[in-house]
């Protein structure tokens, strides 16, 4: 867990923000349940995605609920796989195997690289 509590109050996609601060750091948590096709696909998609758009400022935590079922309630997990954006806030839940890139971008509030200044 990063120590960027102050970032919680700031909108993460603010282009005026100081890029040196760790404001744009993405703390992502992927909940899966065993090595199902959907889970594997989701993880693959996520990694590809992060490398493409968030290279350098992200970390991914994978939680297998088969091994840690007690963690499901904490993040209100119903659907599998679920990607939770812990940071930057607000908390977002993205469900599915992340195959729909458009929606993942919207869900994570990431602007495609092409749009960036």
């Amino acid at each position: 867990m990063s120590d960027t509590t102050s970032d919680g109050q700031a909108p993460e996609a603010d282009p005026d923000r100081d890029p040196d601060r760790d404001a744009g750091h993405y703390h992502l948590r992927l909940y899966v349940a065993g090595q199902t096709a959907k889970s594997v696909a989701a993880l693959t998609n996520l990694k590809r995605f992060c490398e493409e758009h968030l290279a350098g400022h992200y970390d991914i935590e994978v939680i297998d609920l088969m091994q840690n079922p007690q963690l499901a309630a904490g993040d209100q997990i119903l659907a599998i796989p679920t990607l939770v954006r812990r940071l930057p806030s607000p908390l977002k839940r993205i469900i599915g195997d992340l195959s729909n890139t458009e929606k993942v971008l919207v869900g994570l509030d990431i602007r495609p690289k092409a749009d960036r200044p």
Partner: protein, 562 residues
Amino acid sequence: MPDPQAAPTLPKVATGITGFDDLTYGGLPAGRPTLVCGAAGCGKTLFATTFLVNGATRYGEPGVFMSFEERAEDLAANVASLGYDLDGLVAAGHLAIDHVRVERSEIEETGEYDLEGLFIRLGFAVDSIGAKRVVLDTIETLFAGFTDPTLLRAELRRLFGWIKDRGLTAIITGERGDGPLTRQGLEEYVSDCVVLLDNRVEDQITTRRLRVVKYRGSAHGTNEYPFLIDQAGLSVLPVTSADLDYAVPDGLLSTGIAGLDGMLGPRGFHRGSGILISGEAGTGKSMLAASILDAACRRGERCMAFVFEESGAQIIRNARSIGLDLGAHVASGRLRFEAARPSLFGLETHLARMHRDLDQFRPDVVVIDPISALRGPSGELQATLLRMIDLIKVRGITAIFTTLRGDGSLIEDNDLGVSSLMDAWIKLQNMEANGERTRTLYVIKARGMSHSNQIREFLMSSGGIQLVDAYIGPSGVLTGTARLVQEAQERAAAQQHRDATERRLRDMARRRSALERQIEELRAGLEAAVDEEESLRAEDTARGVTLEAEQQALIARRSAAE
């Protein structure tokens, strides 16, 4: 063909909800999901919570409450008033509450998914406390959180299958839709047992009703049963049963009014009978009933009074004016008043409350004062009363009903009578004559006993109720002052008659003594005459002797001269 009686019965799990286990012959199907559906505010969540709490506290079966709507703390607060300590049960490991928050705005769907997370959470909660019971309240909320209904339906089907595989007895609640039982047609998936809760408003009065729509593999009561939610929790009341095969208790019930007992052949009413006291306003129905209650309490019996027009305190005060201390009986716990305005509940709810109270208090004598205060459509009223009477009779309780209608009917201009349902009927009537009213009483009928056919006048005083024989003479029945006047007249006439007789007796005595005096005088005269006669006779004899002596002397002298 196998004998249905011999076939193994479906294993069931008791809900501990009063009445519900009776009408389902044991409770919900064990190891299967049951759908409890109803509109908002019907008590679905309470039904489910009661199922879990009773399971944990009474049957040693821990339960999982998976709430899709209310947070755990709200849930606990909502049922705290019923004495359910959810937090305590959770702390003791008898209950697990998992609040599943489904927020559409927080969820972005980006491809294929399933609801394995729900399964894992439920499975974890079940395993953590060894749960046997599960509640999913209200799982239809999922349809608001996820966009793919096809997937949801498939997952729900899988979930219910999973519940069955795990052998969990589950309640799934569902909001009632317009057409089908639930909005999302959950009844398609949960097909073993469906319970419908209903909250109907008629004439601004709400009545809660419960119906077991289906119960695969088991018989069940098919009617709509009223149920109550109050401080005692949830209770379903199978009051529609109206069998006529109840046992009849032996013994007599003295009314505590000597005159009234005297009008009945065995000197009291049969126990377990229904007694109707009819009479217009101010004829003394309530006080007559109070006298019977007082007498029963004095004998140490338990009595209960359902009063619809006065409060218990008011009846106690009024009864004090005729020298009855009902307050002492209330204090000693032998008498209980249940006062409620008739318009407070529907007829069903009144019945249901009565049912519960009777089973709780187990009285020997019940007073319902007055039944004519109950309002409703005539057909329903008749049915309600019939069930009320059955309810009481089945328990062997002696019931006293009062009604304002002199003819025993329920409603004006309606010949719907309850009198035929009653075993005894005392009619109170105010007789108006000579500018005054007098209370009279007569026994119209008393099944299974001989009884007086006379009209009795009754008096209420600080000494209680007293019956006085009415004056029945050639000029009709006289009561009140007229009776007193008539009685005074009769007393005067009798006095006169007595006086006259005495006078004549005195005359006769006088005449007799006069005659006796005359007899005395005559006897004296007779004696005088006898005396004279004897003296004459003696004189005569003496004279004869003298004559002879003189003659002898003469003869002697003559012969000497010769």
